[in-house]
């Protein structure tokens, strides 16, 4: 599991008029849990989209699990932000998780027994088995996020990418999500982007700060000077030590 999950060398990316990413280099080992933080508009989501092959870099190269991003997709579990969804969409939890089974084989007109088993397994790992018959509209923010994580896990990914998994959910549920990710980290490498720097440092093995350029740090509390550097303005860090569920790294 220690061959690199992601190798990014010298990539730059611009939308028309604006350069969003400049000379990004990153190597992620298979057993790592990387948190990427940075201000809004700093290029976090763009970097995830590049890793997924949804966007093409202007320069540089990206290899994911030793393949091109597009070819690596079947092995990537992706958790988008739920805030961008239509929250009134009529769909049940189980059917949502089952969507993660697409791309695992060639023709998929019907779900197979394996699909059902893997779906149940993913729901068990994320602790949502008892919600499976409920519609998504009946869930809380934290529960929805778990469903999306289960959907990402349903394809047995080797790499899990999460886009702001704690946005729009209350802190207590956020803690639960991080506890869950910490458990999952034993089996897959994880990249998580968030603007919530306090949460992120607790369970990741490495923090990278992204604001057009990427700066990596080993996991240690982020210092005020660093915050100022990334966000471009004076900021104070507020220590909020709370006891996490057993098993979560301090």
């Amino acid at each position: 599991m220690n061959s690199p999950s992601i190798e990014i060398s010298n990539i730059s990316f611009s939308y028309p008029q604006v350069q969003v990413l400049k000379d990004i280099n990153l190597t992620l080992r298979g057993d790592e849990f990387l948190g990427i933080v940075g201000p809004n508009g700093g290029g976090k989501s763009t970097l995830l989209k590049l890793i997924l092959g949804l966007l093409e870099p202007d320069t540089g190269e990206i290899r994911v699990l030793g393949r091109t991003p597009e070819h690596a997709r079947p092995l990537i579990g992706y958790v988008p932000q739920f805030a961008t969804f239509d929250s009134k969409f009529p769909i049940k939890v189980r059917d949502t998780v089952m969507q993660g089974r697409f791309g695992t084989r060639k023709h998929q007109f019907f779900y197979t027994r394996t699909d059902r088993l893997k779906t149940a397994e993913a729901m068990e790992r994320t602790d949502i088995l008892d919600l499976q018959d409920l519609p998504m509209t009946a869930l809380s923010g934290g529960q929805r996020q778990r469903v999306l994580i289960a959907r990402a896990l349903a394809c047995d990914p080797q790499l899990l990418l999460l886009d702001e998994p704690t946005a729009n959910i209350d802190p207590h549920q956020g803690e639960n999500i991080f506890g869950l990710l910490h458990r999952l980290h034993d089996e897959v490498s994880i990249v998580l982007i968030s603007h919530d720097i306090g949460f992120i440092t607790r369970c990741v093995t490495r923090v990278a700060c992204l604001n057009r350029t990427l700066v990596c740090h080993s996991t240690s509390p982020v210092e005020n000077e660093l915050l100022q550097e990334i966000y471009g303005m004076p900021l104070s860090r507020v220590e909020h030590e709370t006891n996490l569920d057993a098993g979560v790294r301090p």
Binding site: R73, I76, Y78, I91, Q99, G103, Q143
Partner: protein, 288 residues
């Protein structure tokens, strides 16, 4: 003579009733997709473009419904290509198709020699003119829509729910979207005969939007929308017969009223559920 005894004695009334019921199937299935994918405006564009095809077919002496089918499918392909390659101009291009398509139809119909067809019946439908052959045509289109939905239900749902995730999981999102717009095109062609092209949007969106309020899955939404659509077209026809009203317009107004009633019912239902859970105390609601 009341509506029910008239049904037995007039073939045209029976045909109209059957036409409405058959149309409700396409309407319920495709309307559900239109509502959750929010492509009502695209559906409107396709519906109005169709008049161009009907006018040209009529001018050339071919059956207008053939022209309608071809132009609806062409419009579906154009709109899906635009939304893929020039999304920022989507709105403009759909508006252009909408207006130019309609204008083309009006011009060709005006220049067709001889007895001029009643333009109003294309715009607002003439369900009482439906022939046995039309019914067969509608039934075939229904079968096509049902078959596509059965085959690609999961792909269609995922593309509507989360197109980005669908792309990542290897689903050809653009092709599925084009397929969906083609289904919309087929439904438009059916509905033109029932309520006319201007009121197509009412039937594509209102029963499905009402159904969504009480649905936990897209399949259930389709079922409820189909049943509701069947009820609305039948009652609309009954009202139109009893009080001598245009059938298409009656059905559209009824659909609007049904949607308002559904919204009200949903609000009341939610308020009741809320007060019930408050009576139970807060303890139950807190566990995440």
């Amino acid at each position: 003579m009341n509506f029910f005894s008239a049904l037995g004695s007039f073939d045209f009334l029976m045909h109209a009733l059957l036409g409405g019921l058959l149309a409700s199937i396409a309407c319920g299935i495709v309307g559900a997709f239109v509502v959750v994918r929010r492509i009502g405006y695209m559906a409107g564009g396709i519906a109005h473009t169709v008049l161009g095809g009907m006018g040209i077919a009529y001018y050339l002496g071919h059956p207008p419904m053939g022209g309608a089918l071809i132009s609806a499918l062409i419009a579906a392909f154009i709109i899906s290509a635009v939304s893929r390659h020039a999304a920022e101009q989507e709105d403009t291009i759909i508006s252009a198709l909408w207006a130019v398509g309609m204008a083309t139809g009006v011009l060709f119909i005006a220049k067709t020699p001889g007895y001029n067809v009643d333009l109003m019946s294309y715009l607002f439908g003439n369900v009482l003119m439906i022939s046995q052959q039309d019914l067969l045509f509608i039934a075939i289109l229904d079968v096509a829509i049902i078959a596509i939905t059965l085959l690609f239900y999961r792909q269609l749902v995922l593309v509507c729910f989360d197109p980005e995730f669908a792309t990542i999981r290897g689903i050809p999102v653009a092709a599925v979207h084009t397929l969906l717009l083609c289904m919309v095109a087929l439904t438009v062609v059916i509905l033109i005969q029932i309520v006319g092209l201007i009121l197509v949007i009412a039937m594509l969106t209102l029963p499905a939007a009402s159904a969504r309020l009480f649905s936990t899955s897209l399949a259930l939404m389709m079922l409820i929308a189909t049943l509701l659509g069947g009820m609305l077209t039948s009652i609309g026809l009954g009202l139109s017969f009893t009080w001598d009203l245009p059938a298409g317009a009656s059905t559209a107004v009824l659909s609007g009223i049904a949607y308002l009633v559904a919204l009200g019912a949903k609000k009341m239902w939610q308020a009741r559920a809320k007060s019930r859970s408050q009576r139970k105390g807060f303890g139950a609601g807190l566990s995440s």
